[in-house]
């Protein structure tokens, strides 16, 4: 840990970029997947999420799952179709 990072409250303002459904988003560093879903007003039970190509099956883990910079998320759901 550098001197600067101990003196500056970096966590408050630090952001990171990731890709959600093909578009870049900037979110506060340290956000969990549950934080992101809450900010998007999405109910985890109604969506399926793929992170970097892997489907996240355990919805109970979303609150602990910390997102990382450059993550690529796909958030999908069921829509009308034939």
């Amino acid at each position: 840990m550098t001197l600067a990072s101990t003196l500056v409250p970096a966590a408050i303002s630090a952001e990171m970029a990731l890709t959600v459904n093909g578009a870049e988003r900037r979110i506060p560093a340290g956000w969990t997947l549950a934080d992101l879903l809450a900010s998007l007003e999405l109910d985890a039970r109604t969506v399926v999420i793929e992170r970097n190509g892997t489907i996240l099956r355990d919805r109970a883990s979303f609150a602990k799952l910390e997102l990382a910079a450059d993550d690529s998320l796909e958030i999908v759901h069921f829509v009308g179709g034939g």
Binding site: N21, H77, V79, G82
Partner: protein, 271 residues
């Protein structure tokens, strides 16, 4: 009227319940949920159709206005059997990915597998379809494979473990009706798994003729959703599927090139 009650269709049971992969369904008509003017119209039409199996598609959540498209806010998963499709997938890998995402939604492990080979006709890529079928069957999916009306492909899909084969009547959304009844009949005669005709039914008579070939069921979307009055068309399709099934079971009279009188030829007045 007592006599009419005795012979009403309600008393004529189907000797063979509509069963796929050991699960019995209450209707041989399966319907899609796309292209409706509103969600309430979709629900009304599905109710009028009597369908139990309804198809849905997997798509990205529109993060800017996500409240509109989500279909499960409108469709009770306890009342209907949700069959996810892989519509829009143009190769096996994409179809497999969509199927896995659909299963992760947690309703069932069934998938209506589409691997499309051509943008203009939306005809299936049967090579990719077979490949995806094998992979998904290996992962425990119940695969209902949307295919063309080719017998050999249908046989290969059955060999690969598909629980139902779904040959098209004509291209998706075309409303052209059944273009090749011979091929559909042949597939039905040769396969052990259910044959469900999917796509191309444009109106009730199309559905009736499809069912008269002896197939196990029909899946349709546009034929209902694109009608001027979708709810009424859904009711017509329900009646047509039942009529066609009964006509098949009843066994049609032979075709003849000459007339055969319906009234006695004896007992005519002398001249």
């Amino acid at each position: 009227m007592a006599h009419a009650d005795l012979i009403s269709p309600a008393t004529l049971t189907d000797p063979q319940p509509f069963t796929i992969a050991g699960r019995e369904f209450r209707s041989r008509l399966m319907v899609g949920t796309g292209k409706y003017a509103s969600n309430s119209q979709m629900i009304e039409a599905i109710e009028a159709s009597g369908a139990e199996v309804v198809t849905v598609a997997v798509r990205r959540v529109d993060l800017d206005r996500s409240k509109d498209e989500a279909i499960l806010h409108h469709l009770d998963p306890d009342q209907y059997f949700l069959l996810a499709n892989t519509a829009g997938c143009f190769n096996a890998a994409d179809a497999i990915r969509y199927a896995r995402l659909a299963r992760a939604a947690g309703f069932n492990e069934w998938v209506k597998l589409e691997v499309i080979g051509d943008q203009q006709t939306l005809l299936p890529d049967t090579i990719g379809l077979l490949e995806a079928t094998k992979t998904l069957v290996g992962e425990g999916f119940k695969v209902l494979a949307y295919t063309n009306e080719d017998l050999i492909t249908a046989l290969r899909l059955e060999d690969a473990g598909a629980v139902a084969v779904m040959p098209l009547a004509s291209p998706i959304g075309s409303g052209l009706g059944m273009l090749n009844p011979y091929a559909i009949r042949t597939i039905k005669q040769r396969l052990s798994v259910p044959v469900i005709v999917d796509a191309g039914v444009g109106t009730a008579s199309d559905a009736c003729i499809v069912m008269e070939q002896g197939v196990d069921g029909i899946l349709m979307n546009t034929g209902i959703a694109a009608a001027q009055e979708p709810v009424r068309m859904a009711a017509a399709m329900k009646a047509a599927v039942e009529a066609g099934r009964n006509a098949y079971l009843a066994g049609r009279m032979p075709r003849r090139e000459v007339a055969v009188p319906s009234s006695p030829t004896t007992g005519m007045l002398g001249s």
